[in-house]
């Protein structure tokens, strides 16, 4: 499955990408797609069986969505974001 994670900072995205790659997940950095958000930050698009690469979500993660034929399906959103 393909997921897109957005972040509170660019460096958070870099760290998340490394976390994914450490698990041999295919993960690329890219600008946040316009149809996902009006913010212009950095996201990680990654391919994996589960959306979370660890036991808990890293604190830099703002939200995670799954790409589906119908559009984005939200998997996670940080509290108060």
């Amino acid at each position: 499955m393909i997921y897109i994670a957005t972040f509170f900072s660019h460096f958070g995205a870099i760290r998340f990408q490394k976390l994914c790659q450490g698990r041999d997940w295919e993960a690329v950095l890219m600008p946040v797609p316009r149809n996902l958000s009006s913010s212009c930050g950095t996201c990680v698009r990654y391919r994996s069986q589960s959306p979370c690469p660890g036991d808990t979500w890293p604190r830099e993660v703002e939200q995670v969505v799954q790409e589906t034929p119908e559009g984005y399906r939200r998997c996670y959103r940080a509290e108060n974001s």
């Binding site: 509170f8 900072s9 660019h10 460096f11 149809n35 009006s38 950095t42 974001s81």
Partner: protein
């Protein structure tokens, strides 16, 4: 929206914005200044009495239009999102220094492109400085720079900036005697299009910039970070559009909308080093803020109070720049301005270091 459609939309928006910028000059704005967020915030600060430079005082409706255009489109698309709390005071300070850099160069990144499209080759030094500043910011982004997360806020917080813009417009239309205005012929502040024209252009550009996320600084940042050219294409389209319209107007009207060279350019000076350093400071600061002054206005319209605080910082910077003799003029930079730009580069560098290499980032 697929990628090709998004790219076409970006180019069409850029061409449209270039046309509107040149049209505003036709309707009365200063040459090569159809839009300049730094200059317009400076003029607005002057109109509100925050500085007393008589040549640059006018409440620019374009600013209100940009915020409200973004707000209205975001509202229609359910994208208004009141949020903030990401180092607001740091953003305020960065806004001050970005403005000082812009007023050394005499324009924000948006006007830099319009100056190039008008044949002002001094802006090439500004462009060089801006690129170097952005790449310096990217260096810190890749090493951990962050002003920490934003938080969801009550709706009123996000609505305040658009409400303030409505009140400013009301002041301009209903009680102009409370404001300070440059007399016609008294300087750039005395040159402006009619209120309705300026406001309409601002509304359109604000909506287009909200839809496309157009950002002069983001274009170069995304190219450096991702090899992504979409935002930069918007940048290029504004340049191409404004250049073509300027050349057409040159041929049709006989007036000088395009004049290639260094000397005698409107609201510009020829000191290449300080044009370079001014925009280096502006570009560096803008990357740390997450966007150029135009983008800050658009985000403020969407309810981002961090960007609203940045806009207030930009206005405070304009007031400091004119109260302390930091702003350049057509005669060139001032000694105070040179000191302020060097201090600004050091201060912005210190902010970048502190927010990149602190222990909790490790």
């Amino acid at each position: 929206m697929d990628r090709k459609k998004e790219t076409c939309g970006m180019i069409a928006s850029g061409l449209g914005i270039g046309l509107l910028a040149v049209a505003l000059v036709c309707f009365g704005n200063p040459a090569n200044m159809g839009f300049c967020i730094a200059c317009f915030l400076r003029d607005t600060a002057g109109a509100l009495g925050l500085h007393s430079a008589g040549a640059v005082q006018y409440l620019r409706p374009e600013i209100s239009g940009l915020v409200l255009g973004s707000f209205i489109l975001a509202l229609l698309r359910k994208e208004v999102s009141p949020r903030g709390g990401s180092a607001p005071l740091t953003r305020f300070v960065l806004g001050i220094f970005v403005m000082i850099g812009c007023l050394m160069f005499l324009g924000c990144p948006f006007r830099m492109i319009l100056r190039l499209a008008g044949g002002d080759l001094n802006a090439l030094f500004g462009l060089g400085g801006c690129v170097c500043g952005i790449l310096t910011g990217v260096f810190f982004l890749n090493r951990g720079y962050s002003l920490k997360r934003t938080y969801r806020l009550p709706p009123l917080e996000g609505l305040l900036m658009p409400i303030i813009q409505v009140l400013l417009l009301a002041l301009l239309v209903l009680a102009p005697s409370l404001l300070r205005f440059t007399e016609p012929g008294g300087g750039p502040g005395g040159m402006h299009a009619a209120t309705a024209v300026s406001l309409t252009a601002g509304l359109i550009v604000g909506a287009l910039a909200q839809r496309t996320r157009l950002c002069m600084v983001g274009g170069i940042r995304d190219l450096a970070l991702f090899r992504e050219t979409k935002l930069l294409l918007g940048f290029a389209a504004i340049f191409a559009g404004a250049l073509v319209y300027n050349l057409i107007l040159n041929a049709v009207t006989g007036d000088l909308y395009f004049s290639l060279g260094f000397a005698g350019q409107p609201v510009a000076h020829t000191d290449g080093l300080w044009n370079f350093l001014g925009m280096l400071l502006a570009g560096f600061g803008c990357v740390l803020l997450g966007g150029c002054p135009l983008r800050q206005l658009v985000l403020a319209g969407e309810g981002n109070t961090d960007s609203a605080v940045t806009v207030l910082g930009l206005m405070a910077g304009a007031a400091f720049a004119h109260n302390f003799g930091l702003a350049s003029s057509g005669d060139g930079p001032t000694a105070n301005g040179k000191i302020a730009v060097l201090l600004g580069i050091a201060a912005v560098g210190a902010i970048a270091c502190v927010n990149t290499f602190r222990k909790d980032n490790a």
